[in-house]
């Protein structure tokens, strides 16, 4: 089984600040549903930024799908992210001036390789199908400003899943939902990840969700920079 993520001797800091990440080793197999937790300020979002290729590691290797992001240029990392990674934020996931549909189709419009992954299926049809799966099929035409928070998060999940990227990264996407909706959202997300064969890296400081995942990664334990 090949590794989706294989981090070695990673060190990262913002500018000349203190080290935020110092991770000797972290590996996730393909298809894992990983639960990454840690207290606020422990570097969860920062680690996701590094895994997504938005932040450049200062030291070490960050192998994602077999490519070492640390050795890629900024533009190469951007292209890599566009093609292989879907990202869900904690909240305010949507671009306010785009419709629900336009928000969902953004990744495939941004990157031709991601579009090629639709395998000939139409952009709109794929988006509509995903929206149906996540039970927001009737919202496609709506302006995003009229959606509830739970609906917004599901739109964001659709966007992350668009074009079936190998890795879905979610940064506390459920923290603004109540408990029932949290579970419902996760179940929908899991089903879609499974359908696409995607690896899920899910960040939270809420350990009540831990049981739903196949693997738990406690960040303070693996991150030596943790204070």
């Amino acid at each position: 089984m090949s590794l989706a993520i294989d981090v070695r001797r990673l060190r990262f800091r913002y500018g000349n600040g203190p080290w935020v990440l110092d991770i000797p080793e972290m590996a996730l197999e393909r298809g894992t549903r990983a639960f990454l937790f840690g207290p606020s300020g422990s570097g969860k979002t920062t680690l996701l930024g590094v895994l997504a290729g938005v932040l450049k590691p200062d030291e070490g290797e960050v192998n994602v799908l077999g490519r070492d992001l640390a050795s890629l240029s900024g533009a190469q990392r951007d292209a890599f992210r566009a093609e292989h990674i879907g990202y869900v934020f904690q909240m305010f996931n949507l671009i306010p001036y785009l419709s629900v549909l336009d928000n969902i189709t953004l990744p495939v419009r941004m990157n031709a390789k991601r579009r090629a992954r639709l395998d000939g299926a139409g952009v709109k049809e794929t988006a509509a199908l995903l929206a149906d799966h996540l039970q927001i099929g009737d919202l496609l035409k709506k302006p995003v400003t009229e959606l509830s928070v739970g609906q917004q998060q599901r739109v964001a999940a659709c966007r992350a899943l668009m074009g079936s990227p190998e890795i879905i990264v979610a940064d506390e996407p459920t923290s603004s939902l109540d408990f029932d909706r949290r579970e419902a959202f996760l179940e929908l997300l899991f089903a879609e990840c499974e359908r696409a064969g995607a690896t899920l890296v899910f960040v939270s400081h809420d350990r009540t969700l831990e049981g739903m995942f196949s693997r738990t990664v406690p960040l303070p334990d693996i991150n030596r920079a943790a204070l």
Partner: protein, 421 residues
């Protein structure tokens, strides 16, 4: 073009601030182009004050001065030319026609010009238009006077009214020729040139009112001449003219003729080519033009700075949006492109609206301005100057777009995906 699509939708989403920005740029651009149009209109109408006159001849002195007193009714002539000299030149084979002018008197602030029927026949202004009479006839008797349109309108004169003439050209001359009043024979149609503000009499009339003034002072009390003393038209001997306009038989002779006149030994005199002299004069006023243009350019810069401020301040609210775009794979360069494109779109929309606004205002205001001020501003398709301005505005918008864009670029590179508010 995803980025263009995003830029347009984002601008539309901020419709209020977008339209304010476009509006302020449009107004400033309209001002810039409008001022340019008015300037061109003014210069054209200025250089069209007289037309078809090849030379203006007067006593030696300043070029501009000669132009001022014989064309614009401003300033005063220093010397006159003798009638014999004038006649000698009028007979010159290269000269087709002349219009003699006798200057130096006024009527309640308006210049009195002595001339003859050649003025009514030959004088041309603005593209060859001739003098026309609105009422009555062209004065031809000793005590006839023909009024420019503004003179008649402002002083409320009608045909047959009596008009006194003042010696000298001050508003209230104290040396009056009131003992020899003139009678209004005709009123000229409006020309929107200095002709409207002048009073025309015959050269004989000018001589008549100066009978007894040969020594430069008024005649003693009791010695004033009255109408009865004055000789009939054909018996009056004209002694001098102040200047005269010349039409040549062939335009090729103009330069040679000018030199010949300037070298004339009988009397110190000079000839100027009105087109050249008018240009030279306009250059003199050019400082004001440059100043005006500078001011309007600054107004445009202020408009663009307003755009810069609005884009820059919107950046803070848009950090989320930038992070989302980064997350779906947009590189920092796309972020720069987005912001620069927005700035260019704003500037271009402002420039185009400004240009449109100029045409709307011109077509609405042109007849009013022409009637009120006598300034004809032509409506032409945008010329190279307009395109240059528009290009400059869009380029400035492009360059200014980099200010917010580079800030967003730095944020995008260093902040990662954690948006801290």
């Amino acid at each position: 073009m995803l980025v263009l699509d995003l830029a347009l939708k984002s601008l539309r989403n901020r419709a209020f601030s977008t339209s304010l920005t476009v509006g302020s740029i449009a107004l400033s651009v309209a001002l810039l182009i409008g001022v340019e149009n008015v300037r061109v209109g003014m210069r054209d109408s200025f250089s069209n004050t007289i037309s078809q006159t090849d030379l203006i001849v007067g006593a030696k002195g300043g070029t501009i001065q000669l132009l001022l007193y014989s064309v614009f009714g401003m300033g005063s002539p220093t010397n006159n030319l003798s009638w014999d000299t004038y006649r000698e030149w009028a007979e010159h084979p290269a000269i087709e026609w002349t219009i003699p002018y006798g200057l130096g008197d006024s009527h309640r602030g308006f210049r009195v010009i002595g001339t003859n029927e050649d003025f009514y026949r030959r004088y041309r202004y603005r593209g060859g238009q001739a003098i026309a009479l609105a009422e009555g006839r062209a004065g031809s008797e000793v005590f006839d006077v023909t009024l420019g349109a503004d003179v008649a309108a402002e002083l409320g004169y009608g045909l047959g009214d009596e008009v006194g003439v003042t010696h000298g050209i001050g508003a209230v001359g104290f040396l009056n020729h009131d003992h020899l009043p003139f009678e209004v024979a005709g009123i000229l149609a409006k020309t929107f040139t200095p002709v409207d503000r002048a009073v025309y009499v015959t050269l004989e009339g000018i001589e008549a009112i100066h009978f007894g003034w040969e020594d430069g002072a008024p005649p003693m009390a009791g010695e004033e001449h009255t109408h009865e003393d004055v000789l009939a038209m054909e018996e009056i001997e004209i002694t001098q003219v102040t200047s005269f306009f010349v039409g040549t038989t062939s335009r090729r002779d103009v330069l040679r003729l000018q030199r010949e006149i300037n070298d004339y030994e009988g009397e110190p005199m000079m000839a100027v080519i009105p087109g050249l002299a008018l240009n030279e004069m306009w250059q003199g006023i050019g400082y004001a033009e440059t100043g005006l243009r500078l001011v309007t350019i600054f107004v445009v810069l202020v408009g663009l700075l307003g755009m810069l401020v609005s884009l820059y301040t919107s950046l803070n609210e848009r950090r989320r949006e930038m992070a989302i775009l980064r997350a779906v794979g947009a590189g920092p360069k796309s972020i720069v492109a987005l912001l620069v494109l927005e700035s260019v779109c704003l500037a271009a929309a402002g420039a185009i609206c400004g240009l449109a606004l100029v045409y709307v205002l011109l077509s609405a205001g042109q007849p009013i301005v022409e009637a009120q001020v006598g300034l004809f501003i032509p409506i032409r398709p945008p010329g190279s100057v307009e395109w240059l301005f528009l290009g400059a505005v869009v380029t400035a918008g492009f360059l200014m777009g980099f200010v917010p864009a580079l800030k967003a670029y730095r944020t995008a590179l260093h902040d990662g995906l954690a948006v801290r508010v």
